[in-house]
Symmetry: C2
Subunit: 361 residues, 2 copies
């Protein structure tokens, strides 16, 4: 495994007057370029434009992004500071409406401000404390991803084929990833296997990011177009499917990148187990099921002009949902840092996630 | 409907010393450019590079292509002419191995040569007779496409949503198309409906060609990425799926553009009827089932460099089958010029197609 410090997905550089540095994922796989964000607006744009993407990474970016420029206002006192933070949070919440980690991470920074203020903390020290909290969200995510990997690694059998969709890898998190953490840990345990990566239209996160990071870490990866998944399954090349998640309802219904639901239906039709790997922070137990998860609709030009030139006739109608919801009934198990949840139902989820959720909040 | 003479997919221009003119479909939807082919090799390249594609159109192109330059050899006598034609045919057969119409059309021209020679025809007159035969293949295809459309038009209910994959339209045939003929005829009968066109990676025939020709003919079309088909079905937007075919085995197993099989599985899972529209010439009754249909594997760069720039990391493995086979059990009916074949099984197919096939050969 290469030195990960070189390719840290997202990082706060410097002290309270520092900035957010993140890999500009829109430039991959061609170039590994870092982008420095010094304002809330720049982070909003980075999230919106998918320079940083993946539910956990978005959470970390938002938590750090909300603190940008905050130190300039310490003289105004904790109340004004709180207002500024809430303004920044409100703005950042509009960047990607589907990712629950975004809301969760921002709420956590706001809670931290409240606690720090109540304990008499103020000035640069207060900002520094919030910064520690944002950094801790990143560090926790790294530990959580490792734990997800360890929970699920045994599911990857020797010599098997694994299909994944979009990018739920190191680039989507602080490190390791969620779905890909399972593969990285299996590989670290000496397991040999083959990965089929759906390219994942329209934005090709599978081709650009998953293939890139798996190749970089020495995992045997084969790229396919999304519409080849069924054929690859039919040919017996795939023994399990693992994907990440953007939001999971209390009953296990899972919102993830568009195309995930189709892959789940195909996996079921071929008798292949379909797994979702995600941290507890991705669960939204306030939603009874997936029907209430908002589905972000994105710019038609992602479909018609995705590659720098028009690939469809001028003026054609386009439907471009960014996510879909896979019903719990199609999911064999949820792989989390607190263990594998199987069967996937509300009782099991509340039993393993609900408790932790209450403790934390 | 606009004047179709303007946009004839493929045409022989001139007399025995003429040439083949075809729409260069690789330039669509940006530009409507015609390509003139004056040698067998140029037609081979046009088929291989998908400047002309779609099983019926390939058949017409090959039949015409095999005659290019033939008139220069009339002085050598009918035997030499026959050899030249067989050479040209052999070369053209290697251009796309999956499309049975290619073989069928070339065999038909060769048979015509034999008959003409036996009846004492020679010289330019012989070439002219072959040319009539090749043109007749095109004219027949036009009539056949219309008949397919008329067979299936009643299946398109008022106000329904139709999903199609790849391009089985006017651009894939002499005119009208197969799957799209059904839609064009339904529209001509006053039916209003909405079409969802899968963009169809890697070469985007759905985005570039189907969206283009439906839009041109005033049909309400919405472009989606292939991986959105499941979601569109789940949302109740689709009441039927119609696709074309490259080859159909005696039991109804159908080879068509990669991704078709996946769409059929998804349609079944959502209780949506899945139809295949194809001329009798697409049936290959010598194959008991789809397992013997050769699946063309194409250049990995279609997947990694499909849009003029690299969209995947250098050196990544790619799996790029051009076709898949949909089992007959997933097909609600086959829509042909001789009527709708339902249920799809060998007895029904031999009953409706087999008889015709024997009469003709």
């Amino acid at each position: 495994m290469p030195d990960q410090t070189e390719t840290r997905t997202i990082e706060w550089i410097g002290g309270v007057d520092g900035f957010v540095r993140l890999i500009d994922q829109t430039r991959l796989p061609g170039e590994l370029v870092f982008r420095e964000c010094r304002t809330v607006e720049e982070v909003w744009e980075a999230i919106r434009s998918l320079r940083v993407r993946g539910a956990p990474a978005i959470g970390i970016a938002a938590a750090m992004g909300a603190l940008l420029g905050l130190h300039q206002h310490v003289a105004e006192g904790p109340v004004a500071l709180g207002e500024r933070l809430r303004e920044a949070s409100a703005r950042l919440r509009t960047s990607r409406p589907t990712a629950v980690n975004l809301f969760w991470a921002l709420a956590r920074v706001e809670r931290s401000l409240k606690q720090a203020t109540e304990s008499g903390c103020s000035g640069d020290k207060l900002v520094s404390r919030l910064l520690d909290e944002a950094r801790e969200i990143g560090e926790e995510d790294r530990r959580v991803c490792l734990a997800i990997g360890d929970s699920g690694a045994h599911l990857v059998g020797e010599g098997c084929g694994v299909l994944t969709h979009c990018n739920a890898g190191a680039l989507a998190t602080a490190d390791y990833g969620t779905a890909l953490a399972v593969l990285y840990r299996a590989a670290e345990n000496g397991r040999r296997f083959k990965v089929y990566a759906d390219e994942t239209r329209p934005l090709l996160q599978g081709a650009r990011l998953t293939a890139w990071e798996l190749q970089r870490r020495g995992i045997d990866v084969t790229l396919i177009c999304d519409n080849m998944a069924a054929q690859v399954m039919k040919e017996g090349r795939v023994q399990l499917v693992i994907v990440g998640a953007d939001r999971i309802a209390a009953n296990g219904d899972t919102a993830n990148k568009i195309g995930t639901y189709g892959v789940a239906v195909l996996a079921r039709a071929h008798g292949i187990p379909f797994y979702v790997a995600a941290p507890a922070s991705t669960f939204d137990l306030s939603l009874a099921d997936g029907s209430a998860i908002p589905i972000e609709q994105r710019d038609p030009r992602e479909v018609t002009h995705g590659f720098g030139k028009a690939t469809a006739p001028e003026g054609v109608s386009v439907y471009n949902p960014a996510f879909d919801v896979t019903p719990a009934t199609l999911i064999e198990a949820l792989i989390t840092e607190v263990g594998v949840i199987r069967p996937v139902n509300e009782e099991m989820i509340r039993g393993m996630i609900g408790l932790r959720d209450q403790t934390e909040q």
